[in-house]
């Protein structure tokens, strides 16, 4: 019994030491690292289907419908944009649309069309556009 208690105490101590890097948002970096492919692949499928029309295949804000829009769609690959917006902010914008977050209503809300999972997948994919973007 005593031995188990010691082990536990040691384990708790070890846990205390190693805790700090574990705090991560559940579905961003962690998911991408664990599952190379799946979530990102689904995100790409959602993006290509729903977003690329205006935001362009590589997120540059240059989809073929972008030329009808004023203001023009956001360049999602831009480094400062990627840096400025957190994942929850991006998810919120996708979910509630431009009008929902005080921007142009030309970006529709997708919260009734896409599931929460699809929204987090597409945000994951949008993050990957920064790396590949110009």
């Amino acid at each position: 019994m005593k031995r188990i208690a010691t082990v536990l105490a040691l384990a708790a101590a070890a846990a205390a030491c190693s805790r700090k890097p574990v705090v991560r948002p559940a579905h961003t970096a962690a998911a991408a690292a664990e599952v190379p492919g799946y979530e990102l692949r689904m995100g790409k499928a959602v993006f290509d289907h729903y977003c690329a029309t205006c935001h362009g295949a590589s997120g540059g804000g240059d989809g073929f419908n972008s030329f009808n829009l004023d203001p023009r769609p956001r360049d999602l690959s831009a480094a400062d944009f990627q840096k400025r917006k957190s994942d929850p902010e991006l998810e919120d914008a996708v979910r509630r649309g431009g009008a929902g977050v005080g921007l142009s209503p030309l970006m529709p809300p997708w919260g009734h069309t896409l599931s929460d999972r699809q929204i987090s997948q597409v945000v994951l994919y949008v993050r990957s556009l920064a790396a590949h973007g110009p």
């Binding site: 708790a12 998911a31 729903y50 419908n65 209503p105 919260g111 009734h112």
Partner: protein, 670 residues
């Protein structure tokens, strides 16, 4: 004394032997893994209590026992201890958290592990469970092909959230794989390949040789694979094809058409453009690509055959996707003479359409080859299940690598996916004399086909676990309208229920509830572009008003959804009819990003100015309440509108006034 000693010795031996089994058990790798997991869990735990719980876990076999799913026993969680433990996100394998999928977390108890991942559920050693040892059963599905797991339960060509599997299944059907290989659910598959009887009147020896040597090199839209025929084989098949003849009447018509006086190529050019041929065909690669490339068609087919095919396509090829157009005698001549003037291969030898003088011996050899090379599977009239040329494919996804013939391919890793990949990319590389043709798949497409193949199990999963797309029992019209549907081949492009092609984005399943009858009639008589951005547009068939009316009436009768109200405003307060409020909503929601009203807006969705003459208010209301219900993949977002807002928007759209004489009205003039 010696007896006693002997007894002592045997007792000791006996004891030792007795100890072997528990010792072996105690030393099994999963036990040390479980002890490691305890420590890892305790180290990651956020509270002392949680850490204690990890440490208190017994070392024991863990399993899912799924009595109603083939009595599956999956012990994978004996080692993969963290699959449903959120604290194990990012933990080293085998302890990591299972990534989220449509079925995880949440469905472990229903599906276990092997139903998606394959492998040997009851085994408790790594090699046996993953199927990497020679003695083990079929191995696990590699993660790169994991969507094969979806395909074991999910039937149908398109599986949501499994894009690779869906692509693979589309390619299997499009490439005609089911014509040679029997696969459960595809027993009735018919290839779209044309019958060969009119080839001798259609093309020439040079062209047919070129085609047989490399179909896709000759026409990028070709679906016929490359059979890697030798020069001798090509010669024999060419002679065989030219020894065939159509009915005397058809032959006479084709020959007579070829001898007709020249037509007006300028007029042909106009008709070609207005008939919207590139909705299916391509011209220099531009167009849909589900029918032959036309930029060199005059060097591919004779004038007589082309004219006759435009006049009566279904007499030449009863199974073609090509609709019958109402071209006059002169017009079909004009179109073909436009082809003759512009759509030629100017580098082709002048004799490209010169016929072959049939050598009987070669033709007989070709006839044999037509059977032995499997050509009849696609080009034959009917092929029974027993006659299927290739081996059945059910169960191919469960083959053990050791049971596969790798032949000459000593370079390949000894795995099923590697074997399948090589088999479909370079099928003849395994041994001389193999018969499977090569399809020229891009690497990504080959991967998708492998995924679709890995989903093919020997036995189907139990009924309760099968998820096939909901079959919509939509009646296809018979009688007069059925004939019209056949003549215009509506189902080549449009979907109705679960039948039909995917060239058009407008399914006709609820067409009767959607569009106004007068509009349908006018549109069928003279179609116009609803969405100008699409290269695929409704061809102008020059339907008579009487035919158009018959089709519109059938739509109103059969293709309706009872949940769509005739008058959505009935019983609603008058305030919900307010177009002013609707107009404000139209702006606030940003509909103009995709739709044009008046002169401004995006052109992704259909322009809405002529809505009142086109769409029924009940449809508008039902669509606005959730577009995806009517077309699952439509991009128009669901705004989650209240009934009142949907009604107001409907009222606004219904109040729009066409600014100038709309195209629909123009159609009425014909």
């Amino acid at each position: 004394m010696p007896l006693r000693r002997l007894f002592a010795a045997t007792s000791l031996v006996f004891l030792a032997v007795l100890a072997i089994s528990p010792a072996k058990n105690a030393l099994r790798p999963y036990r040390s893994l479980q002890r490691r997991f305890r420590k890892l869990g305790a180290a990651r735990a956020k509270s002392l209590k949680a850490a204690r719980e990890y440490m208190a876990r017994p070392v024991a076999i863990q399993q899912f026992w799924l009595r109603d799913f083939d009595n599956r026993v999956d012990r994978c969680t004996t080692c993969h201890l963290g699959v449903s433990d959120a604290a194990m996100a990012g933990a080293p394998e085998p302890f990591g958290l299972h990534p989220r999928t449509p079925h995880t977390p949440g469905d472990f108890d229903r599906f276990g592990c092997t139903s998606c991942h394959g492998g040997q559920g009851p085994a408790t050693s790594r090699e046996d469970a993953h199927g990497t040892s020679r003695e083990a059963g079929p191995p696990m599905t590699p993660l790169a092909d994991i969507e094969a797991g979806c395909g074991r339960c999910h039937g149908g060509e398109s599986v949501a959230e499994a894009p690779t599997l869906s692509r693979g299944r589309t390619l299997l059907a499009r490439s005609g794989c089911y014509a040679c290989h029997l696969v459960r659910g595809h027993e009735k598959f018919r290839s779209a390949a044309p019958p060969l009887e009119t080839e001798s009147l259609k093309t020439g020896g040079t062209w047919i040789r070129q085609w047989l040597a490399d179909p896709r090199g000759t026409d990028a839209n070709a679906t016929m694979p490359n059979f890697q025929l030798t020069k001798k084989q090509i010669e024999a098949l060419a002679h065989y094809i030219f020894s065939l003849a159509p009915s005397e009447e058809l032959a006479r018509k084709i020959q007579a058409a070829g001898a007709e006086p020249p037509g007006d190529a300028e007029n042909g050019k106009k008709i070609f453009a207005e008939s919207r041929c590139i909705s299916c065909h391509t011209v220099e690669g531009k167009g849909n690509g589900s029918a032959p490339e036309l930029s060199t068609v005059a060097s591919r087919a004779s004038r007589g055959w082309l004219i006759e095919f435009l006049r009566e396509p279904h007499a030449i090829d009863p199974g073609t996707l090509m609709p019958g157009f109402h071209f006059t005698e002169a017009e079909s001549r004009d179109v073909v003479d436009y082809f003759e003037s512009e759509f030629r291969d100017f580098n082709a030898p002048p004799d490209i359409l010169a016929p072959i003088r049939v050598n009987q011996t070669l033709a007989e050899e070709g006839a044999r080859l037509f059977r032995t090379a499997g050509c009849f599977s696609c080009h034959g009239r009917t092929v029974s299940e027993a006659e299927k040329f290739g081996p059945p494919l059910d169960g191919i996804g469960e083959k053990k690598a050791f049971s596969l013939d790798f032949g000459r391919r000593t370079d390949l890793p000894r795995t099923l996916p590697a074997w399948l990949n090589a088999k479909i990319t370079s099928p003849r590389s395994f041994a001389p004399g193999l018969k499977m043709p090569s399809f020229g798949f891009e690497p990504e497409d080959a991967r998708a086909v492998v995924t679709a193949l890995l989903a093919m199990t020997a036995a189907p999963v139990p009924e309760a676990f099968r998820a096939s797309p909901e079959a919509l029992p939509v009646p296809l019209p018979a009688g007069r309208v059925g004939e019209l549907f056949d003549r215009y081949r509506c189902l080549s492009c449009h979907r109705v229920g679960d039948r039909g092609g995917d060239i058009s984005t407008a399914p006709l399943t609820f067409e009767g509830s959607k569009v106004r009858r007068e509009w349908v009639v006018n549109y069928l008589v003279l179609p116009f572009s609803i969405r100008p951005i699409l290269p695929e547009r409704m061809p102008i068939f020059r339907m008579s008003r009487e035919e158009a009316t018959a089709i519109a009436d059938a739509m109103e009768t059969f293709w309706v959804d009872p949940s769509i109200p005739e008058d959505p405003f009935a019983g609603q307060p008058a305030a919900d009819r307010d177009p002013e409020e609707g107009a404000r909503l139209y702006v606030a929601l940003g509909c103009r990003a995709c739709h044009i009203v008046g002169t401004s807006g995006g052109y992704y969705g259909p322009p809405l100015t002529d809505t009142p003459s086109r769409l029924k208010p009940g449809w508008l209301y039902s669509w606005l309440k959730g577009p995806q219900r009517w077309r699952a993949d439509v991009r128009c977002p669901n705004y989650g509108l209240t009934d009142r807002d949907a009604l107001r928007l409907t009222a606004y759209l219904e109040s729009l006034k066409p600014q100038n004489a709309s195209a629909a009205a123009a159609g009425g003039a014909r």
